[in-house]
């Protein structure tokens, strides 16, 4: 008992001062890094389209609904596979048409006001014998080690698409990606 109590002060005294400084510095750096990581905000910036209500949002996703419950979802994916936009465009087209049975109605390039290039698909699908329009806009940016992909998906009834499509397009024009750089 007495030896234990007498040993502990000695062990504290033996710690080199430089080690204490190093430990304090390391903890400080970790705290600063954590604060910076917390302060960096979301992965993208998206304005809520007109006649939509933002119901879900997080650092990497955004969800909004219309009064008719048409759905808009914007998501961010961080990938290890680094490929350019045409690669993913071909992949998505092939997947939705060949594997899922979507009908591709329109397809064109899309560019935001900030100059970020993207690609727009308009598919037509039937769920429970009800025709739906599914609009998908794809943006890609390249990071140092990963690739960032942003998708904006609008799912609405066929008759509502003409009504909500322009509003979503206007909102996407002001879309800002905060990860990677346009490449």
């Amino acid at each position: 008992m007495s030896s234990a109590t007498s040993d502990s002060p000695r062990s504290i005294k033996r710690i080199p001062r430089i080690a204490v400084f190093a430990a304090v510095g390391l903890v400080t750096v970790c705290l600063l890094a954590g604060l910076l990581w917390l302060a960096r905000g979301g992965t993208f910036r998206m304005m809520t389209p007109e006649n939509f209500a933002k119901v879900k949002f997080s650092r990497s996703a955004f969800g909004a609904l219309t009064p008719q419950e048409d759905k808009l979802v914007v998501r961010h994916f961080s990938l290890r596979e680094k490929q350019n936009l045409p690669f993913w465009v071909d992949g998505l087209r092939n997947h939705f048409v060949e594997d899922r049975g979507y009908t591709l109605k329109e397809e064109d390039e899309f560019k935001t006001d900030a100059g970020l290039s993207g690609h727009r698909f308009l598919f037509e699908i039937a769920m429970n014998d009800v025709p739906y329009c599914y609009e998908l806009v794809l943006f890609t940016t390249a990071g140092w080690f990963r690739q960032h992909i942003y998708t904006a998906e609008l799912l609405c009834g066929k008759k509502n698409f003409d009504k909500h499509g322009p509003a979503v397009e206007n909102a996407l024009k002001r879309f800002q990606a905060r990860r990677g750089h346009a490449g």
């Binding site: 119901v55 879900k56 996703a61 969800g63 609904l65 759905k71 979802v73 998501r75 994916f77 990938l79 596979e81 992949g91 998505l92 997947h95 939705f96 594997d99 899922r100 979507y102 598919f123 699908i125 769920m127 739906y132 599914y134 998908l136 992909i149 998708t151 998906e153 799912l155």
Partner: protein
Amino acid sequence: MILHPSAKRMTSYLDGVLPEVQACRFEAHLAKCEVCRRKLQILRSASRVFGLPKRRLDAISESVMERVGQIGNLAAWNVRQAGQADSLSYERRQWNTDAPILGEIQSVDGTVFVRSGAGDKAIEAFPGCALRQGDRLEPAAEASAVVQLTNGATLHITKAADLSSLAEAMAAISSGASGRTLPPSGRRLQMRFTWASGTVAVAMAIVLAAIVVPKCFDAWERTRIARARRDVQRLALAEERAASRNAGYVPLQVLDDPARAASLTYDPTNGTVSGGDVWRVKQGDEPRLAPVISCIPDIIVSDADGDPDFFIFNNALDLDELVSDNTAASSLLKWSLVQSTPGKPSPASQGSAGQNQQAPPAPSKSPAPKTTPTSSTTEKRLVIYTAAFSILVSSVEDSMKDLLQKIEKWNGYVQTADLQRVTFRVPAANFNRVVEEISQLGVVTNKQVQAHDVTRQYVDLQLRMEVAEMSRKRLLALLEKAQKTEDLLKIENEIRRLTEEIEKMKGEIRLLADQIAYSTIAVDLTAKAAEAKPARPRAGVSYFPWINQIGAENVIRYF
């Protein structure tokens, strides 16, 4: 101020390597300086004591040499010249220091000179002085010396000794003693035999023998017992074989000395033995062991049929002794003996052994005719064959039809059948052919063929049934003679019990015979699966996980 020469110069002078001019100066100094003369004497003495060349004494400091010079016995090592001439000229004489040492002078009484080689100069001997090859000892008047030789001998040299014997002794020294260099201290390790050491050695030998000898005997005994056990096992196997071949009778075995065994005579006609003590072993439910353990018989007595009837062991070992020695062996050797004298059975052996004695061991001469089927059935084994197949066929229906037709062709019949599985029986004679043909119906995925030997079971049942029938016949005869009602009832009950038992055994025999006559075969037919058309792997699922998270379905699921 007087400058004295250094120790290095002194050793160089002693070694004779000092230049002539410096040597003359040194000698002139020595003539005047008593101190340097003493130092020179000490150096020479030290070189003798340590057995080192003089040049290596450079390392010895002067102070050390002073201390050496103060030792009393060294002070007595005063080297003198024989004719009291110039000591310096004598001290420069080159001793044959490289010659091997023959001995060491232990003690000197009077004046004894050591003369080296053929020179006319000598030094006075002193205790501890090394005697080298080529040296001669010359005692003065009434003087003597004792020399301890390197070979352990002691040489006494006196004036009165005969000079010729002295010369011979010296010659013996020169020739006998090898050139071994004494250690500097002059001490040698001497191994001397004493009574105490001898007693200790003998005691140790006795103790070792007391430990080792019993161990050796134990090992020998264990080996002997293990060999005996192995022999017993082999003998038991041999008896088992002999008993199976001779309707349950094991051969007679003789436990006697070779002379009596040789005088043994055996009459195969009536199965009697004469001329010695015969041990007959009774064969019970289990094979019993004979009281001999030698597995290779020295004499085998056979009759006309060629089967061995006697095994005579000349060097037989009595198992009684073995059992009394070893408790482990007693559990192994569970045997029962019936001792009989030829022609005069002992009371204990008059039952079964007496019956056995009249029965020759050969099956043909067995007294019990009941055992005749045993010998006949052992020649032809009774085996029940069964088989089971799992076969992949292209069409189960077609194969089943084909199989049913074949069963009729094989003179068989179907026991059970459903859409895919059929169990049928065919005559045992056709079993092999049927198995071969079934294997050609399709792809055999599983095949099991079993053969169950029921010879013993069949023979046992037959014997038991025959004995029961004989008993029932006797009871029926008794029933006719019986007059008391109580006896009649008892006999009728016994007859009823025997009848039931006989019927039961007859049923078992019929079942066994049926199973032996007809083999049972089960065939399981399975249709080959149609070749699967390779579908697109992971339809509707992308190899990129993030693509699987988008789409209309996932949008709905997101909210």
